[in-house]
Symmetry: D2
Subunit: 231 residues, 4 copies
């Protein structure tokens, strides 16, 4: 599979039913004398809810959006990518184990577009085939999967179920939609955010690279879209 | 309001649609070569799902249940109780602010049953009325709510929206359903767990005090139900 | 005790020996082929270390400063303040328990300066004396401390041991040094930051209110020092 | 390098000066009316401190040990191992980046002992040499390190600086010293715990596999040392 293929495969399998209403409820609970279950019973105008929620989010009161959790299935991402992804400590992960699941006869991998474009695809594929062959041979000779996998490359694909709340999703977008993020994780987060925004278009303005919010760039090497931060 | 009243008022306002299916998917993703979205498309027998999930939970692989999040509204709990509750750092909270919401003319409080039973209820109520009167007077004289609240007692009630995943909920039950937990937080967690178990009876065996699982007591002073741990 | 007194009492009881060296090591480990223990053996010029660390911090790579942890003892802060403080979920807390420690005969409290200035100090003290008297009476009548404390006010003082890493300390300063933070927590964080900066003057530029870094104000009501964010 | 070599290389570079005293202080602050800085000034008998601390730890009050943080440098661990390690979300990590640091001409790897013992070492080394050669060629042809690394195997070594508090260290030991843990992470955690116990022998009884504490085995396949948990 090359980077230009349909990978990673991402499905949004659980989303809050009415995130705007829940966030509005959380905000109002903080600043109101009414019992929250009574606030919730009222039929509040969506425009009014949106106005308050946007104001609260702009002021940085982001704990109010932790009540909205999203769950995704992800397949066809490399272990290079997942090693980065699992560094997000506010996310929950259930990942396919290379210790317990053998890749014998079914090892899949991703080819970066730079490799494809450089004319090295054939050699790359040949190396992958050789790795797969040696992996299979090790398994056949009784080496446990957890040791045979030592030869598997970063390009090998993995699968995950992952959950995160909206606060972490905005943080993830802020960091990983930057052009300096690794292309694969960037594509993954774009897909994840796209699925959320499809359901809740009003979240689109928050699920962006950090510079889109701050209007400046704090990267050491910027892309030029916004001025570099000078202190 | 006394402890024997209907307080705290707890509503479960968001729960996963099919937690068993989601947890099963998370477990299977770890130990299977199949893509998770394909596992999910299959119509698996609930008994089979339950069997795997129970086995995985028993072996302590609890990250698989983080994908299920529950959201509650809570009212009529004391600030004594919420100060304990917010110590649970894996939970999310949106709590009524005593800095921004004035209690003028509407200060509510809880009376512990020990006070009621000791014959001190009348004096207790008189003290609360005096506190309320002085609070109102401070607000009238222009003292900001965030300072006037300095006289408000631990008995004053609060409201919250809170979210937590199933892993944290089991942890909460394990700790706070112990008879050594403060009676109010114990009652609160009983209500929260009750609402979850009503929807998912199979979770009942996990949402218990820690001793029910370990069959021994690690408290310094036990209640006698299980033997004290001796090392 | 009034707000203008020496309270809260804050001591820094544990600090990293050479935080600059540790952060430099963390940064260099990320971007260097050398083994970290070999990087550490070298005697690097502090100016050079400071230059790299500042560059990395400016680019938002804040996980590198999590290796530096600070521990404080705090006394003479109100429970109003600690209820806010313990909301910081990346901090560790050991707090004096009102369930296990009786306040009989030794109940302490703080008077906000607005109360003092409004001429209500005498009535405030009288109310506190009445609360203390009723608390003592409840204890004498055998009511458990965990229930007697229901009458204790937010003004009652508490004690804690707390630990946090430098990343969280900067976050804490960013939020709680804002003029919109409650005055008591602001004073507490000022003292904590002051003790750290005394040891490490170069950290002074990071331990500031968020606006000092962003050069704009995202509060709903600003103090006028920096322009309000307009989106 | 083979698994039997001196790898991983682990150094403990920061440890609390007097963890017993700090934990004792945390425990006493919870259960005492005295100000913590005054408790700390006293010269308490180590035996007395140890007795209280052990009692508190046995009762599961583990937040008191979060005040003790340890920092390690680690080199010569595989990316297979670090992908597991970084799943511990209460730890802090600064890891050598395969995106920014090129492995050209200096790619190191580990050979599992099962491979060595199976007689496949020579072929394993040959495959690694081939991978290294193709990696170098990609770098030479201008493919960025972040893409060239797609061919690097799980066996490739990495370096980290990591910090964790004592609570997480005990949790890590409980899980990863089990014989069912992957051999490399088990060896790593053994070394880390060994360095801590060298300084604080009294911690030895806590830094053990979970079964040593519970006296039963909750793994699906146990090693036979303790009886399997039956419910």
């Amino acid at each position: 599979m090359t980077e230009n293929s349909e990978f990673p495969i991402v499905h949004l399998i659980s989303a809050p039913e009415n995130p705007l209403k829940t966030i509005y409820l959380a905000c109002r609970t903080c600043y109101s004398a009414e019992y929250p279950y009574k606030i919730r019973e009222k039929d509040t105008d969506p425009e009014k809810m949106l106005k308050l929620v946007k104001k609260v989010l702009q002021s940085g009161h982001h704990s109010t959006i932790e009540h909205c959790q999203y769950t995704f299935t992800i397949s066809g991402v490399t272990r290079a990518c997942t090693h980065q992804l699992v560094r997000h400590r506010h996310m929950s992960f259930s990942q396919k184990s290379q210790r317990y699941v053998t890749e014998k006869g079914q090892f899949e991998y991703i080819t970066p577009s730079t490799v494809k474009n450089s004319g090295l695809q054939q050699q790359y594929d040949a190396l992958m085939a050789e790795i797969a062959g040696f992996y299979d041979r090790m398994i056949e000779q009784g080496i446990p999967a957890e040791d045979a996998r030592f030869v598997l490359p970063n390009a090998a694909t993995s699968s995950l179920v992952t959950s995160l709340n909206l606060r972490e999703m905005i943080h993830l977008a802020n960091l990983r939609l930057c052009v300096n993020a690794q292309h694969e994780i960037r594509k993954l987060i774009q897909k994840m955010c796209g699925l959320v925004v499809e359901k809740e278009p009003w979240l689109g303005e928050y699920l962006v690279a950090k510079c889109e919010k701050s209007r400046y760039c704090d990267e050491i090497r910027g892309c030029g879209k916004f001025p570099q931060q000078v202190k």
